[in-house]
Symmetry: D2
Subunit: 358 residues, 4 copies
């Protein structure tokens, strides 16, 4: 089903870019857990627009408003529903898109799927804005996961041709993750970040946009969780991560790199560490063997396509006249969504790991 | 849940490498459809072992035996259950693996997950042999899909350093797909195939194994199917494909290539074709926009890790003594599973597309 | 999962009696359908409190506020989320219930289930007030069902010892159903209704409450829908209806009456009607054979227990002191919830039938 | 979905009365649990046909054959698949039913639902024979539940006009349940049983059949399990029990009796027992409050319709000629299925409780 995810922890996301509100309903949360709303706001802020020139200038508080499920800061066990009111819509910007679908965007497919009744304003339910409720859900869940020793962090591993260091998949530290998972535009290397800013600025000046890769690590997940076949941790995480708009690829551990590896290189040899815990010398499997966690960090990377909404003139069709047409998109658009997408990917990971662990 | 997949079409796979039988139960099949068992056997044969030196020499008929759901070759609408009896087990080969888990394999995680009661013989339920029932399910479903004009085909796009041509994502022909989807070890270019044989043979001679990439295309899927967010076609396909052991990455369309593309390059511009149908000039989205099909071919690639069972001595732990140990794996193993995995990936695609279309 | 229901049409209900709002998120609605909010309000009003002396005097507008999914009165296909703000809470009334659980109510079990963090105010998420979002969902869905020729109506078949006529299960008319499904306190016979008022008034004067039976009929459902075994229409309807608090039994057609019938009496003989349509002479199966609709009216009855919140002193435990204790419940309570529960049962039926039909 | 049930413990039932085999695949079983096959056979025998004159004379071993999931009598954690081969089919008996549907049976609705491709032989997938795999699943699960102190037992509470004692819902003893759950045709009172035999014999002599009521109790379920609304224990149990053919009603605790009770009568007052455990003086709620267990015995009753297959001539339609027709059913039929249905209801309860508890 489209906008719901999970069995044990079930999230249902609703709203559109220009509806009265967007929000999320979360079922299955453990009663009695305290939720620190300041920490939630830190995560919301990391995703919020208008922070620097990589992002759209649309400013919104993105303040989640809890309707139910929380009493005096403690989860009651009943569904937790939070909404974010849409206060800064400029609907006029989108008036011509219903008949001239934007290339690379969902305008055309939504028009087909919803019998032309789709809400085109700001992309409607397909808007990147709908990742805000997901970040809220993730921000709640990661607090509970943290109390179980689980840490999640991500960074921009690449934007265009600019590359950050990759995680050390065997030894990624919680210190690093806890730094990354509180920043806006998390990057390990400062130099890489400077280069990324250049890449984005260059795209922006051309009224264009640019894609990239986000790498995410999760530490502290107990070994022995997950299931074989369709219940594997890769299935779980990828089914959540592909829920984030613009993701076109996901890989775990060595990922597509396995194609050119020999078994003897790719196999992660086991050994006992100083505490008598089974560890592996390498982590090409990304912490997952046979769909089940092996106690090593879970590491995955996902490919984020360049924002389809660009300022350049593009060819498209006119669904009204049935003829080819040209399109120039006005309005505010991110030349690069990677910086804001980092906490979203962390949130998707948090949701998946919560389903696995809670 | 581990070994089941789907809602409208639900498959449940059971069995282990050395249990009496393996099989699959399929619910939700449309009553009245004819099933040609010869076509099913063609698919089973493509996955079966012992065909050439890329594969294990264990020979098995892999003949599916239908217990229910089919009457005079026609689906009755009741669950279709088929089993394959395991007739050629050599259980002795695996006797030491329960205490010395194979690196890169599920032995250790299954041991944890199943309280040491896991069936280690031949990998048990984690065995690649469990893809045979998946191929059966796919072989049944693709017959029904073909009657709706949908064609599925895949090829080895890479094995080690040897690369095949990629699909022309805009114009991939049914002729090509229908050639690939009946062969053993499907590759577009004969020259690439020769190189791949060399790569595999080289690994085999070193008692090693090698990974690769499988590319799959699906044509004829109507535009407008799928859902936003978690109900997208990428989520659907990846949740099925990650059910195949050894997959460590999946990407759609331009995939990880989007990272270095500009929006103006990645956006697939729309136009009307000669029949007045909306098409795109490129297909970087792999036929999926906003989670929903746009009528272009669906194209995805997945990374297959080298078989973990290799002949070389490897370091591992001894779960009995609690000490580090060495392991030499005897028995029959594929130096490369790509050739046999091609029909498996097609089957996973068939299952996912059936869920979408039927 | 607790507060969600359905696969094709998925509803997720949230909120508590005294949280900021209660509401429902509905996924899977068909895009393009018009929703008449006046008709929705008619249904909300039938369930709303404060209408007569059978019901609590707590007055609330119960006005649903649509946050998303509806544009210019037309469903966009994105999730439809509606909330009802809680404006008239008197939380003080419930202060002592957390340690002295009300007999017959969920106070004790919720306290266990949610680690003592449950929201006790007004019954929290267990409050009958949570049926308002269900009525909203039903009111939306029945508009769509009505366009497909499906009519749903229910009545108080019994309150205490006062009995209404039962539906003529073979010939129940849409005219009758359409009268019942717009009224407050729907009863077929005026005389029965007078008797029911007496029964309720008598209970009220004793600071007591009284139970009853609601009978519901659905006409116009096409024959041939539903599935065998666990996918049967009885399973579907009962899993929705048992979601309504206070329901302790549900039966279809002749229901528990089958126990004393012979096969030759219970079997509904087939015949062709004047239009060549297969009908049955009797409808002891309640329109469902082998889990599948047979084209006759679907008829079911459910038992509604007397409201547990009564004014009389009752014995209970004190969870703080660990001793037996006495309880007197103050506040506003319905001596009989049947009148207000009728549209709730119709709504549960609408949700189940929508899952079957859409 | 039709023939599958459950989330944590998922059972998928397949087969038809006259297919090669029937069976069940069970996912989610806890690895390491021993399964005693003799106890399983006891349960299978209780349901098997041909035991006395209440039942059909068709004799079948009904011996389950485990294909996978069990190794040396211990669950491996992989799906447990068991089949029962159909060895005693007399298909000729059913040749005319496809065009002359049996009143009260699923013949007509299956014909519609499955595009006339339904397997009519012996009722196909709708046959009562399909309860054998359910009994197998229940027999496995109840062994695990018993180790957790949970006991399940049922009896024929009524057959026609002959009534057994009802369970003492507050004090039902495990001793009684453990006697009932091993017998064929479990009844508390010997006298009632004699009367029931008379009722059945009378029906049999008239070539007719008779219905009844089965009452089931479950003790030892921990308090605090289940969820509000749609996740309640009533929903869970009823969705499993309605999966048994011929069930037309289900009620919990006082059930339909609540209709004529006052709140002060129906409310189960709490008190501390001698061990300081919260108990109730009565158990009108059947062990379930707000959908959640309260630690008292779970008690439910279900109405079983008389077997539709009777020897008497009946009116029906001829789907070939489009005219009304007569039908005489030949073959072997139970005049009363209650005796054999008792272990089936226990099995359905076991499956539901396992989903709740494991």
């Amino acid at each position: 089903m489209s906008s719901s995810w999970g069995n044990k922890i079930k999230i249902s996301i609703f709203g559109g870019s220009h509806t009265e509100a967007i929000g999320v309903n979360i079922e299955g949360l453990p009663a009695g857990e305290k939720i620190d709303m300041d920490s939630v706001l830190v995560q919301m802020a990391r995703r919020a627009p208008g922070q620097d020139k990589t992002a759209t200038q649309r400013k919104e508080a993105d303040e989640p408003h809890v309707l139910s499920g929380l009493l005096d800061g403690v989860l009651t066990g009943a569904p937790l529903c939070a909404v974010i009111y849409n206060t800064n819509q400029r609907s006029k910007d989108y008036s011509n898109l219903k008949i001239r679908p934007r290339p690379g965007h969902s305008d055309y497919t939504a028009w087909l799927r919803y019998n032309q009744a789709n809400d085109i304003r700001g992309g409607g339910h397909f808007s990147g804005r709908l990742t805000a409720p997901l970040v809220f859900a993730g921000a709640v869940l990661r607090q509970i996961l943290e109390r179980k020793g689980i840490t999640i962090g991500a960074h921009a591993q690449a934007i265009g041709s600019a590359n950050d260091e990759k995680f050390d998949m065997v030894n990624v530290s919680n210190e690093l993750l806890n730094k990354l998972n509180k920043e806006y535009f998390s990057v390990i290397s400062d130099e890489a970040k400077s280069q990324m800013y250049e890449v984005v600025e260059s795209a922006r000046l051309q009224a264009d946009s640019v894609g990239g890769i986000i790498e995410c690590a999760v530490t502290g997940v107990p070994a022995g969780l997950g299931d074989p076949m369709f219940g594997g941790v890769e299935n779980l995480i990828s089914s959540a991560v592909y829920g984030v708009p613009a993701i076109k690829g996901i890989e775990f551990g060595a990922g597509f790199g396995v194609a050119t590896m020999l078994g003897s290189e790719n196999n992660d040899e086991f050994h006992y560490d100083e505490n008598g815990v089974v560890k592996t010398r390498t982590n090409n499997c990304g912490g997952i063997l046979g769909g089940i966690t092996n106690g090593m960090p879970i590491v995955f990377r996902c490919a984020v396509k360049p924002t389809p909404s660009i300022g350049k003139e593009q060819n498209t069709v006119n669904l009204e006249t049935g003829e080819n047409d040209k399109l120039i998109i006005n309005g505010r658009h991110d030349p690069c969504i990677i910086p804001r997408a980092i906490p979203v990917i962390e949130a998707a990971a948090a949701v998946a790991i919560a389903e696995l662990v809670l």
